[in-house]
Each structure stands twice: as structure tokens, then as C-alpha cells.
């Protein structure tokens, strides 16, 4: 069971990336990125997990010594904030694409190539 969360993270990452590669819709693509990003949350939280660990709050508790790693939780929160910004921006671009080109298919947005 020890390796299961790592396997889950890897699986979610692959699923998200596959979606991003084949996606024909910018909104769907943004969701794929969100899925890919959630694999990093799982990875981070797994790395900080301690068996039978409690929430990493020690002040006011007498015998609490075994807490999970608070650093990775802070990293995960930062990660979520970053991802919200990026996803919001991509969704805004999708809106602009729909307005300007009448499509949200990234393959039809090709003006420059080669």
C-alpha cells in the first residue's frame, strides 16, 4: 500500500497529459491541465505523509509529537493558487478565441506555422 499514492499520482499525470495532447477544445484542455496539476498535489501530500501523523499543529497540545509535514501542505496551497491563475487565464483566452475566431478548437487557431 505504501507505493499506491505514487502510482495514483503518476496515473493522473499521464491521463491529464494525454488529454492535453489530444484535446480539440480549449475549455476541455484547461480541465486537462487542472487534472495534470492535481497529480502534483497528491505527490506532494504523499511525500509529507507520516503514518498515524496528525495535523501539524503543536501549540496547545501536550503529547502531540507526530505530525505530517507542514511544508508540503504550504507548497500544495501555493501550487493551487498558481494553477488557479493559469487556468483562469487560459479560460479567458478561450473566451477571446470564441469571440475572435468563432471556435475554441486549438487546431483551428493556427495562423503561424513552419
Amino acid at each position: 500500500m505504501h507505493y499506491l499514492p505514487y502510482g495514483v499520482a503518476a496515473w493522473i499525470f499521464c491521463v491529464g497529459i494525454y488529454g492535453a495532447i489530444v484535446s480539440r477544445n480549449l475549455i476541455h484542455l484547461a480541465m486537462c491541465l487542472a487534472v495534470t496539476q492535481s497529480s502534483t498535489y497528491i505527490l506532494l501530500l504523499t511525500i509529507g505523509y507520516r503514518k498515524h501523523g496528525t495535523a501539524p499543529v503543536f501549540k496547545g497540545f501536550e503529547n502531540r509529537t507526530r505530525g505530517v509535514d507542514p511544508v508540503v501542505q504550504a507548497l500544495t496551497l501555493t501550487d493551487i493558487v498558481v494553477s488557479v491563475t493559469v487556468i483562469a487565464l487560459i479560460l479567458a483566452l478561450a473566451l477571446d478565441a470564441h469571440r475572435a475566431a468563432g471556435t475554441v478548437d486549438p487546431d483551428e487557431l493556427v495562423g503561424l506555422h513552419g
Partner: protein
Amino acid sequence: MSWLLPLPVAIPLLASALVVACDHFAPKWVKDLIVIGAASAATVFAALALVQAERGDIVHWFGGWHSDHGVALGVSFVGEPFGAGMAVLALGVTTLALLYSWTYLRAAAQTYDALLLVLGGGMAGFALTGDVFNMFVWFELIGVAAYALSGFKVEEIGPLQGAVNFAISNTIAGYLLLIGIALLYGRTGTLNLVQLGKSLAGHPTDRLTVVAFTLLVAGLLAKAAIAPFHLWHADAHAVAPAPVCAVFSGVMIQLGLLFVARVYWTVFTPQLQMHAAAVRGLLLALGVVTMLVGALMCFLQRHLKRMLVFSTIAEAGIMLAGIALLDPRSLAGTADLVLSHGLLKAGLFLVCGLVIVQLREVDELRLHGAGRRLPFSAVFWLAGTIGMIGVPYVGVFLGHSLIEDGAVSQHVEWLQPLMMIAAGVTAGTLLRAWARIFLGWGPRDDQLLTHEPEEDPAEQRSFVPLMRATAAVALALGLVVSVVPGLERRTEEAAKRFVDRKALEAQVLHGAEPAAPPRLAHDIPPPSGASVAYGMGAAVLALAVAAFGLWRGRLPFSLRRPAWRALGPPIGVIRAAHSGIVGDYVLWIVAGTALMGAVWAFTLT
């Protein structure tokens, strides 16, 4: 003096918030004053930090969380000469871009200035940080500001495509970085770069370290426009407003390379120095592929900005090769190349913006002969082109010659002719465009060059003398880099300190005083004969390539047909790879990372 370090980052970020906050009631000149004042103040503070760093690294711990008994507790900024120098270059180019945009792009909203300031501050933070997660945060901050800037004219398809490709590819590169960081944290329990190196020194090399190293390097190379991760750069830079392109191509790409070097020397050397040959081999191969693909694609372009981007990609390959040699002398050369190339390329993009303003066109063929009435732009473009060739004592020469010296001392002499070809072909392409636009030479049509859809330049009424002055400043500074007395010795000294992990560890973790710097002469050491010869060779090649590009049709048909039969298919394949479709780019990133990981999995353990 460690309080100096946060200022180049904090000032632009606070000023950008201020400008947005007072957008509705402050008059325009107040906002312009805040923006340009903040950018120049940040540049000055970064320059002061650089002067300080040259005498010894400076370390700043945020919130007073100093390292304790050799354990890093807080988040640090480390001012060493390369990082501080990169911050100066980033903020300096941003300031020039803001000055240039004072009248350019006035139709755009005020958020443009604020975004450019965020980009400048983010780049300075990226260059100065000593913490690997902090680096990821700056990576994403730079990214978000840059996506918004590249898609500024969202009413057109081109900028939309560029911004979408940029945002998605860069975000995935960010995930690779983050996973690498998480794995390293899981192994060592620290995020400080120096502490990471110290912790890893006790472990044998294993698969986890190799995977983490691969993911970190792949994420950074995607930022650094190295093949096969470079594809989105061409789309994004080609459509951004010219001053934004100057920042992207002049500094943003090179930041990724700075961190590749830092990650290798500060974090992974204890584990990987036994396998240095494997690291060198793969990075060198990527650098060589990048410089050749960049040069070829540059030659095939007719869209001026896209041509300049591919020239940047070719130079980025040379820079990666300079780092990959793992030699202090070539590392110093890379730093000098980043400096001169950054200024010259920024200047060339600003000239490109002038051409757009005055002629409302960025297409080489459609501009045929139209530049005859723009003498300033003609002189500037030619000056920038000459600087990019690497003829002795001009422009990028110092960087190229030091990298070549490093290649000779590491016994990879074959790198020298390849660098000459890359520099010669890209400069020759710029020369071809110059001759066609400003002299009206050559035919009006060329089927070989990539067809570009017509772009409608949105820029209106502009104060051309100011734009000319900023372009001239950037180009002049870029041209003289090779003849600055004492620069070569100082960058070499900085490179020696950059690769000295032990000294950095003593300073960052144990608070040791930096060793007294040696006294260095203010002179210009003579370059080696080989690098002078290759510099001249690149100039000859550039002339030949320009002539070939212009008058290819005059070659005898019996010569052209077999040549095209042989070269046409591979050129077609490389061109097809630059498909402009974001799904393909993501696939290239994933495949490239997997390939790197596979090679290193076999060679590094």
C-alpha cells in the same frame, strides 16, 4: 548590505500594483512616471547588488530566518555575480522596453505597463532566488505575466494562438519542474539549493535523483527554448508587441539556462560529477541540435519577428553548449554571450517595432525596397546584424570565443565549426532581410520562405525619436561588450566562484565571510587564433548565405535540382514539426523528457 537584494524584485511588483490601483483617477503622466521610475530604480539597485556581489556573494534571509548550525530554515536570495548580472540585464531591458512603449501601444490599457513591470520583477526574483520552490513560483509568475503580454492583441488569431501555445506548454513545463522539486524534497527534506547539494552529497546516485534531475532540467530547458522544447517560442514571440519580444528573447529565455547551470553546479555536482561525461554528452547534443534547427528555421522565415526568434533559438543552443561543456571558461563565455546577445536582440526587436510603426508591415518580401526611406532603421538593423555574427572584437565575439576555448580544453573541437555555421547562417539571414528591405536587392518573391498570413499592426501614433534612441542604446551597449576592459577576467572569476559549491555552502549555511576577491587587471586579453579565424569564417559564411538567399535563382538549374531533391525532404520534416498545434508541442515536451530520462537512466547510474 543584504537588504539590497529584495529591492530589485519588490520595487517593480509594488509599483505595478500601485499603477493598477490608481488607474482610474491618476493622470497618465503620473502613472508613466511611477512605471519608468520604478523600473529604473530597480535596475540601479540590481546594479548596486552586482557591484557588491562581485566582491563576495551576498545572502539575504527573508523574515530574518537565518540558517542555524548549517541548516537552512527560511527562504534566501543569493546575490552572486551571474544571478545579479542577470537581474541587471532583465531589469535594464525591461526599462528600455517601457521607455520604448511610452508612446508605442498607447491604445493598449494601462495593464500593459503593469504586466511588463511584473515580468521584470519576476525575472529578477528568478535570477536571485536561492530556493528551489521559490524558483518555481517566480517561474509561474513570469509565465502568467508573459502569457498575458504575448496575447495582448486578442482580437486576432495569431496572438491568440501564440498565447495559448505559450500558456499550455509553459504550464506543463512548470509541472515537470514541480514534480522534480517534490521528489528532491522527499529525498532530502529541504528546498534550499545549497542545502540540497549538501544533503545529496551523502547519498549514492540512484534512480530517484536521476528522475528528479531530468525533470528539473527538462522543465528549465522548455523555458530556455532548447529543441525539442522550443516549438512554442516561435509562435508566442512572433505575435507579441515588439518591446515585449525584446524582453522575451533578450532575457527570459536565458533565465532558464542560468538555472540549468545553477541546478547542476549547486545541487547535483556531488552526485553527478563522476558521470560528468554523460551529462555533458546529452546537453551538448541538445545544444547542437538546437543551434542547427534554429539556424535552418531562421533562414526559412520571412516574418521579421519570427526570423529573430529562430535566431535567438540558435544562440540559445550555443549558450546551452557553453554550459554543457562544464568548463568554467566556457561558462564565463556563456555569461558574456547572454549579455551581448540580450542587448543586441532587444535592439533588433525594437528596430523591428520601428519598421512596423513606419511601414505597417513585418514581412520581408512585402517590405521589398520599402525601407529605403528609413536610414536610421537601416543603420541600426545592419549594426545589430554585424554584432550577431561574432567578428573579432564586436558584439557576441567575446562569448563565442570563450566558449570555443572551453570546447578546445574539453577536447570537443568539432563544436567550433558548428557554432560558426549557426552564427553565420542566422546572421546571413538577417543580412538578407536587410538587403531586401533597405536596399531593395533580390527578387520580390521566394517560394522557399514560409508563407505568413497578413498581420494588422495595431500600433498607432508614436514618438519615433524616443523609440530610435532606446533601440540605439540597446544596440550600442550590445556591440561594445567584447571590448569592455576587464570584463573577460571578471566573468571568468565569477564562473570559478559559480562552480565552487563548497565556498557557497560555507557562506550560505554557515555564514562565513566571502574570501577576498583577487585584484583583476582592466585589460582585454588577446583572443585565441582559432576563435579569430572562426569569427572571420562566420562573417564570410554570413555574406555567402545572404547572397544565396537573394540570388539563389541565378544558380544553374542543373545544380539546383539535385540539391533540392536531397535537401527538400529533411527540410520539409523539420518544418512540419513546427506545426503550430499545441497538442503536438505537448507531445514533443513529453517525448523529449522521456528520451532525456531514458538516456540518463542508463548512463548516470
